[in-house]
Subunit: 404 residues, 2 copies
């Protein structure tokens, strides 16, 4: 009975855990390897390695297609078959990413104890649908855990969001639990801002007070910038490397103010969440049409999209974060590698000390992957890992499903 | 640490387990409650209660729609959203079924230790697809475990098939492991025939010999009969109750011989598996057209579809079972409640003793649900539960995913 793998894992003083994240922009897989020990306040992770693996272009196209809403009548494949096959194809890519990061870190795969995999969100529908059986609130992540398990020989925890949705929550954000473990510090009021496809913030009040955590999606982050760069370059470039295009351009600030003012999302009280849908094809078409109307140059368009990200984020903070007081802001995600965006963020939030998560020891591209390694570790110990104050769930619940 | 629910479960001498099955015909949920003890050869289940819960018509229509292949261009909803919402809607129905069967058995929900849920197969694609990332072999069951867990408070094991597919297998049949536990007996050569939407057999050789188990899908079972009854009655009836229509009619035996002879599936060597697709809309259209050409009466059509099931099953046995010797045949599934079908089966297999699984203590409608209760129990003990000789998998693997 003590041979039971979960019993063995729950008794080890430290686990070697791989974390896997495939973000809304479907660029690739952020993978990390971390040692996680049991501390006084729960898990204490130490990052060993992290790396980003680009998706095969065919898989990326498949994931992006599934992420778009397509009513019937549009020519295309049987999308139910696509969901089934893409689930496995992404699982294969995720399994290879674990093998590759272990090899890169010179760690034998057999010494990896556990994998935590977020997978790819292809629908996030935390609000009730229109009719009958379709009314059920839902979220759907793919990236088959059984395939990862077979390719690695390592137990996998995956499919974290749906349990929070089942418990009445929005299923997002899930990183706040880990932000609290990593960043919460007496005497400090801190925020962790992730800039992936969508932006999200975790506000951590001074833990010596009784104030509660706040976390929510802040608006578009890299999604709109990436989409604009892809259109300008006919897909040759997929993002604004080092923010170079935005740095050369001049943002159309009044256009951005119009868009931010028109976005009813900002006024909604947290907890609240966004899907890829909100800033997808339709949003970008409208953005481009407005840039066309002003005959903006290519660089100006990228600068405008970048300023939009900064301003949307700042607008979220103005309403829901800054009134509570903020000492430090740690930025992570792909957007943290864009110095033009960071500078614009600092400009849009005067008085806030904006730095990347590297300042607290977490490389910006490793944080989300590390978070899902920690959530997997929590399941091994049968501990809840959602933050009801962030998701709106009825209660704390154990997130994820275990494949032995 | 000993508070860990899985550790607690793996130490209990007996578990109270609910089993849930939602078959390919999407009529409803077969639910059972069983006490499972640890015996010398593994789990020993004792059935406590079983019951079938009809699906809400709207949910049933949704599940049937998702089960059909629809290329793009056909008017309809966003099918990815349907997959996401149907997954949750079915999870809600499954969770209610557990609550209802516990209530019916006068067992407090809090004393149920574990739930094993098969879910609904909406795609079964164990063969590689045509191109690139779409080539991945796959299977897709829905019926969200996290929702079942929230509605019941009981840990859930679900999503059993995909691990076997990931291990190189067909992902079906999975019941043979349980058939062996329940039926294998020294000195006897037995077969367990399930007649659900699709038929499948587990052949259990005399365990005192070194012969190996054979298991495979045998062909259409209730799917074609049900579809014909639904067409005749414009959907007012969904199956041939007590086989009454078939008993009044006369089967067109030569037509059935043509169909069986033309079905290349029978000649394929096991392991082999079938999906809903093979005997779906296209097959039934063809069947009806041939009945039209002969101007068959309504009852004759149902009799012909019933004889087709009997003959297809017998043809499978003639090729792959009878040459090895067979003493007893136990029929389970909805088809076991159709006396006309049972009589036709006996006629099509002269010399074989055809009885229902009730003869060995298992009510025909409870067997599949009981099987998934047993598979869930096996995961709690971290034991493999696929039969590689039945699925073609590379090796025995632990099936299912655990939601705590």
């Amino acid at each position: 009975m003590s041979d039971h793998p979960l019993i063995r894992l729950s008794r080890k003083p430290a686990l070697l855990v791989a974390g896997l994240m495939s973000g809304t922009s479907a660029d690739g897989i952020d993978a990390c390897l971390a040692e996680i020990r049991e501390g006084d306040r729960g898990p204490v992770p130490r990052l060993i390695a992290h790396r980003t693996f680009d998706h095969d272009p065919e898989l990326r196209a498949l994931l992006l297609e599934l992420g778009e809403v397509r009513a019937g009548g549009v020519p295309g494949p049987d999308r139910v078959e696509w969901v089934a096959r893409a689930n496995v194809a992404l699982g294969e890519a995720l399994g290879r990413a674990v093998r590759d990061i272990a090899a890169a870190a010179a760690v034998p795969l057999s010494s990896v104890d556990l994998i935590g995999s977020h997978g790819q969100t292809i629908r996030h529908l935390p609000a009730a649908g229109a009719i009958g059986a379709l009314a059920s609130r839902a979220t759907l992540q793919i990236g088959e855990a059984a395939v990862i398990r077979e390719l690695t020989g390592v137990p996998v925890v995956a499919d974290f969001r749906v349990r929070d949705v089942a418990a009445g929550g929005l299923g997002a954000p899930l990183v706040p639990h880990v932000d609290r473990l990593l960043l919460s510090q007496p005497g400090k009021r801190r925020a962790a801002q992730n800039l992936g496809g969508i932006g999200n913030v975790t506000y951590l009040p001074d833990p010596s007070t009784s104030e509660s955590l706040v976390a929510f999606d802040t608006g578009p982050a890299n999604m709109v910038i990436d989409a604009v760069v892809r259109r300008i370059t006919q897909g040759r470039e997929t993002y604004d490397r080092d923010g170079a295009r935005a740095a050369r351009g001049t943002p159309a600030r009044d256009l951005v103010e119009q868009i931010v003012a028109a976005d009813a999302y900002h006024a909604r009280k947290p907890p609240k969440t966004l899907g890829r849908e909100e800033y997808g094809v339709a949003f970008v078409e409208d953005f481009v049409a407005r840039c066309d109307a002003r005959a903006l140059s290519e660089d100006d368009r990228v600068a405008t999209a970048t300023w939009l990200t900064a301003r949307a984020t700042a607008e979220s903070y103005r309403r829901w974060v800054l009134p509570r007081g903020l000492d430090e802001l740690f930025v992570s995600g792909g957007g943290a590698l864009n110095p033009t965006l960071l500078a614009m963020l600092a400009e849009a939030m005067p008085g806030v000390d904006v730095k990347t998560s590297a300042a607290c020891g977490i490389p910006p591209l490793a944080k989300e992957a590390l978070a899902f390694a920690v959530l997997a570790y929590e399941l091994v110990h049968a501990r809840p890992s959602n933050c009801p104050e962030a998701t709106g769930a009825r209660e704390p619940v154990v997130l994820g499903k275990l494949t032995l």
